[in-house]
């Protein structure tokens, strides 16, 4: 007994070290899973408000540039508005157009914090549950995809951008329509990879990559980026490097996309999957 106590006294620092490390590492590895409590903390109102003060200041210093961006976007939107289109047909069947129904809804948000040079980068935006921003909504900026909302608190939400090692989205080549997956493997914050496109489909640098619309995060045909180069040395698939349209180093105004049909689509898929699971069990 005396020996054990002496041993403890001798090594108590190392034991304390091991205990604290155990605690820290368990926090680290528990929180590294997708959709974890880690995100809630990132978007916690205290840290969020500190970051939003800072971004207010830096935004003020960049007002000129932001104005330019916004007026450019305004011009694009204005030219897309219906009154700018010349009517080819003179007759109209009805005043209310019942052939379309709004599916995607856009909300503005401002970036209050963003990292670009880590392996797992996050973006914090100043809209949360009170602004109807929820997890799994897409985020775009200037018409380019940025990421997906991971978690929201009352006033803030944390976005997992394309430049996060766990990010994955369904995209396609605009020219051929072939589908692939958009991922990012670290390094340059403007270059992402498109994988899973078979080699028999022609790809050249300069081709445009857009979203596929398969997931409920983004509408179809949102601009992702332009093919920078293609590496064909490996196996059966192209390795495509894409220069992304969104500049992750200087994001300030973003749009959060909510899919009005999302719940319906997800529930339907879930139902079918459950039925199949039940059938196969039988």
């Amino acid at each position: 007994m005396k020996n054990i106590l002496a041993l403890l006294r001798r090594f108590y620092l190392f034991l304390l070290f091991l205990a604290l490390q155990g605690l820290a590492l368990s926090l680290l590895f528990r929180n590294n899973r997708f959709h974890s409590a880690e995100m809630v903390r990132h978007s916690s109102d205290l840290v969020g408000s500190v970051y939003s003060r800072r971004s207010q200041l830096s935004e003020y210093l960049r007002l000129g540039e932001i104005n330019d961006q916004l007026s450019l976007e305004n011009a694009l939107l204005r030219s897309a508005a219906s009154e700018n289109y010349w009517q080819l047909r003179t007759e109209k069947d009805s005043l209310r157009d019942t052939t379309t129904m709004q599916r995607y809804f856009y909300r503005t948000a401002k970036v209050v914090n963003a990292s670009v040079n880590r392996e797992k980068n996050y973006i914090t935006i100043d809209r949360g549950m009170l602004g109807e921003v929820r997890a799994d909504m897409g985020v775009i900026a200037g018409g380019n995809i940025v990421g997906v909302v991971r978690s929201a608190s009352e006033h803030f939400a944390v976005v997992m951008p394309v430049i996060h090692s766990d990010f994955k989205a369904s995209v396609r080549l605009k020219r051929s329509g072939a589908f692939g997956s958009l991922v990012w493997r670290g390094g340059n914050a403007q270059l992402a990879d498109v994988i899973d496109i078979p080699k028999n489909i022609p790809v050249a640098s300069g081709d445009t990559i857009v979203t596929s619309g398969y997931s409920t995060y983004f509408p179809a045909n949102i601009h992702v980026g332009v093919v920078e180069w293609v590496d064909d040395t490996d196996n059966d698939y192209h390795l495509i490097k894409v220069r992304m349209g969104a500049d992750f180093r200087r994001l300030d105004h973003v749009l959060v996309v909510s899919d009005i049909f999302k719940e319906e689509q997800d529930t339907l898929l879930n139902k079918v999957e459950q039925q199949d699971a039940a059938n196969s069990k039988r």
Partner: protein, 174 residues
């Protein structure tokens, strides 16, 4: 005593905010150089601080830093390691007549050579632990090593400049 405690708390808060709001925003060579200057708060603890308490301070400072950046537990883990090594390094570097326990490890008190060795070894240990825990791939081995060494150097330079700026004879109590 009370003054020492409050000065250290203020220093921790100031450095963590400085790190989160300013230093982490500086992007040198695509993130190749990424200094973590907030560890200055741990390095500056007085010599009389009990060894177990240094580690506990490391734990708390790391946790606070984690709330501002990165997944929770990453800085915590690296700072516990730093807090564990700090008394050991101090013991190895102890001058023949021992330390004046009421003092803190500053350039003015201990000399530039002593300070650079002390802070250099501990910063290298902290940064290596941190970057290895964050991401380690053998594919970019050289890049990772370069990343650790350059970041350590940047942190060390910033901390040493900070010492000269803050700790002159006028406000030696800070």
């Amino acid at each position: 005593m009370l003054q020492t405690v409050s000065v250290n708390i203020v220093r921790v808060l100031f450095l963590v905010l400085l790190q989160a709001l300013v230093v982490s925003r500086v992007q040198l060579f695509d993130g190749l150089i990424f200094p973590w200057v907030y560890i200055f708060a741990i390095l500056m603890l007085p010599f009389e601080t009990p060894k177990w308490f240094v580690m506990l301070v490391g734990f708390m400072v790391g946790l606070l830093m984690d709330y501002f950046s990165g997944p929770i537990g990453l800085h915590t883990s690296a700072c516990i390691f730093l807090g564990f090594l700090q008394p050991i390094v101090q013991k190895i570097l102890a001058p023949r007549e021992g330390y004046d326990l009421t003092q803190r490890p500053t350039v003015q008190r201990m000399g530039l050579a002593w300070y650079v060795t002390y802070a250099g070894v501990l910063t290298l240990a902290h940064h290596s632990w941190f970057f290895v825990m964050e991401v380690f791939r053998f594919s970019d081995f050289l890049y990772q090593v370069l990343h650790i060494l350059l970041s350590t150097f940047a942190t060390l330079v910033l901390m040493t400049i900070g010492q000269y700026l803050i700790y002159n004879s006028k406000n030696a109590s800070l």
